[in-house]
């Protein structure tokens, strides 16, 4: 992939991952830092343009389309790779770190892909490498969650591929550019479905909390940063201004908030808030103005850092105590004060508190909504941001570090601030969260379009503070309502987790029902009726024809002495006189003649 001295940062990570199992002893930990640093360096010195173009069969595959949009995503992703690797320095399994690096390489491959074929290749690399970050947790639940994750992403990949093939068939062009979102065709919808599955848009979202809640401590830090944000990049590149993304994004933002209220597991709660936050970005892409696209990119940038920080903070509690459910934790502030402060900084950043990163990024999207007169979307997104503060800013820190102490003696003894490398990683992320919030040009100068937006106006700061502080008031008033309960909440993964069981039960019961009914009707009732029919039908048919003749001749038809009774008895005994047979035959012949003529 070296072309005009251009080095793909994904290639550095890929090569680094392949060599990683061979590096032993004192070199191991420095090597862990060196590789992501080199990848970050490669992004920093990268010029814009088209690189890494290879002819393959009848196509030109482009591995390196470098512009402002791809650069801002590549910058934050390689930076997060450094932080995540530093956080995971305690991991002795080299294959876990290798899987994480290949996963990041996959994301970078998508970010720099100039055509759909290269994009699809790296899209699949992401799914098949990140699943190991779930499996390496080693619990039986993780193995199953990993398989579910893989199945969902494999299905999504197939839909994407189908869209790509159909699009190529229709247009003869494989290039990955802005698609025609005003007149979307089937291929465009299929590609969109593939993208929004990775962005975790309901109803295609349930894989996210399912897998992220079961991932390894450092694996979750990687996973929360890359899959959904790569999808946001892909949407911003191909689907800017697609209006259906606005309601979808708003639904995401609210959906994650609702489930976060019910959630008892801290990491699953954070996972639901990824859906909520990515909802802002998806809505931003749907609005599609320069301000909105800038907002989506800025929010993805800020989100990768604060969500990584939150997963690191809660992950460090899991790492030290082995617990991540609120009903197993509480009151830990005296044991893990630093982890508390770092998590709080993450919580304030995601809640868009003034002077923290979310404040300068999220507000761009909401402002773009107001500017476009999409008041319902802007107000609902603001409502969701109150929910974000309620859970990530208040519920997570409160019920882990304060609140009722639910820790067992064992948990309490194990709890203390995590190792230095974890604190360092959290410190860097926390610093960047505040730095972005305080010094806006750092982020704004990297965005795809020039920024004319100023977040720090008296009106906006007062607006945000009022929303946040009065949300906090509501939190403390209804604190009892929010006390965590040891429950799980069913989500749409129910359909593929329980689908097999329902099918089995359904087929058992269904087959039982079917066989009983078949016995009842086909085996018993039907033969009985056929029998009765064959016994009495000729007599009845004949009666039908002969009765008018009897009436004409004036004989007694009904009653004990009537001819009808005698006639039926004759039929039942099958004793026919020659006369009656002759009469019957003649009548039948006349009927036939009548119908034929």
């Amino acid at each position: 992939m070296i072309n005009n001295l251009w080095l793909h940062p994904g290639l550095i990570l890929l090569a680094g991952a392949l060599l990683l199992p061979l590096v032993k002893g004192r070199l191991f930990r420095p090597y862990l830092l060196l590789v992501p640093l080199l990848a970050f360096g490669a992004v920093l010195q990268m010029p814009q343009g088209m690189f890494g173009v290879f002819p393959f069969l009848e196509w030109d595959l482009t591995f390196g389309r470098v512009d402002r949009l791809s650069l801002v995503f590549a910058y934050i992703m390689t930076l997060m790779c450094i932080i995540g690797t530093l956080y995971g320095m305690h991991v002795d399994n080299p294959f876990e770190t290798a899987a994480a690096w290949i996963y990041v390489a996959g994301s970078l491959g998508v970010i720099f892909a100039g055509d759909f074929l290269v994009l699809f290749l790296f899209w699949e690399v992401m799914a098949f490498s990140s699943v190991f970050l779930v499996w390496f947790r080693g619990r039986p639940e993780s193995v199953w969650a990993g398989f579910r994750y893989l199945l969902v992403h494999a299905a999504g990949g197939m839909v994407l591929l189908a869209g790509i093939v159909l699009l190529y068939h229709a247009t003869g062009d494989l290039g990955f550019h802005q698609l025609d979102v005003t007149r979307p065709t089937l291929p465009i919808y299929l590609i969109l479905a593939g993208f929004i599955l990775n962005a975790a848009v309901p109803p295609l979202h349930a894989w996210l909390p399912d897998a992220y809640g079961e991932a390894t401590v450092s694996g979750a830090v990687f996973m929360c940063a890359f899959t959904t944000k790569t999808a946001v990049y892909a949407l911003a590149r191909g689907f800017a201004g697609m209006e259906i993304l606005i309601p979808l994004g708003v639904v995401m933002a609210l959906y994650g908030v609702v489930y976060a209220v019910l959630e008892n597991d801290a990491r699953r709660l954070l996972a639901y808030h990824i859906i909520s936050q990515v909802g802002y970005m998806v809505a931003g892409v749907g609005i599609g103005t320069e301000l909105a696209i800038n907002g989506a990119c800025a929010h993805a940038f800020a989100h990768i850092l604060y969500k990584g920080l939150l997963f690191m903070g809660v992950g460090s509690v899991l790492y030290m105590t082995g617990k991540s459910r609120f009903t197993d934790l509480g009151g830990l502030y005296s044991k893990m004060p630093r982890a508390f402060v770092f998590t709080l900084i993450g919580g304030l950043s995601i809640s868009a508190f003034p002077l923290f990163s979310g404040f300068v990024s999220k507000s761009m999207i909401v402002a773009a909504g107001f500017d476009d007169h999409l008041y319902w979307a802007a107000f609902l997104l603001t409502l969701a941001s109150a929910g974000t503060f309620l859970h990530t800013g208040l519920k997570v820190p409160y019920f882990i570090w304060f609140g009722k102490n639910n820790c067992t003696k064992d948990t309490w003894e194990k709890a203390e601030d995590p190792p230095v490398h974890m604190q360092l990683a959290m410190g860097i992320a926390a610093f960047l969260c505040i730095f972005i919030g305080v010094y806006t040009p750092y982020l704004y100068d990297m965005l795809p379009y020039a920024v004319a937006y100023a977040p720090y106006t008296a009106y906006h700061v007062t607006e945000s503070l009022q929303i946040l502080l009065f949300t906090a008031l509501g939190f403390f008033i209804f604190l009892k309502k929010l006390t965590p309960e040891p429950v799980i909440s069913l989500d749409l993964d129910w359909f593929y987790r329980m689908g097999g069981r329902v099918f089995k039960l359904g087929s058992q019961k269904g087959m039982d029902y079917l066989s009983t009914r078949a016995q009842q009707y086909l085996g018993e009732a039907l033969p009985r009726r056929l029998n009765t029919f064959s016994q009495s039908a000729p007599a009845r048919l004949s009666l039908l024809l002969i009765r008018p003749l009897w009436y004409l001749t004036g004989v007694t038809v009904k009653g004990q002495e009537g001819v009808e009774k005698r006639f039926t008895e004759t039929f039942n005994r099958s004793l026919f006189s020659i006369g009656s047979m002759a009469v019957f035959t003649i009548i039948m012949l006349m009927v036939l003649l009548f119908f034929i003529s």
């Binding site: 603001t382 009022q466 009065f470 509501g474 939190f475 309502k481 040891p486 069913l490």
Partner: protein, 83 residues
Amino acid sequence: MILDLIEFLRHRLKRVIQVCCVILALLVGFDAFLLDKGKAHTAAENMWGFWALFGFVSCVVIIFVSKWFGKLGITRREDYYDQ
């Protein structure tokens, strides 16, 4: 240092709550009397304390709607999938 600060505040919880209430009141007061509302997006925002009310109502709505939603059969025992 962090621990000392937390303990310091916890020992003066009543005073902390009083200070927080004063801050909330000042914020609404600032919104009502001093803030230039030229940047408001909609007419409703000109009402004083609009965003404070919006924040509080949002919080209450989110809590109660979610709890109601959970009671529809969404929340289950933790071993639901193991049975």
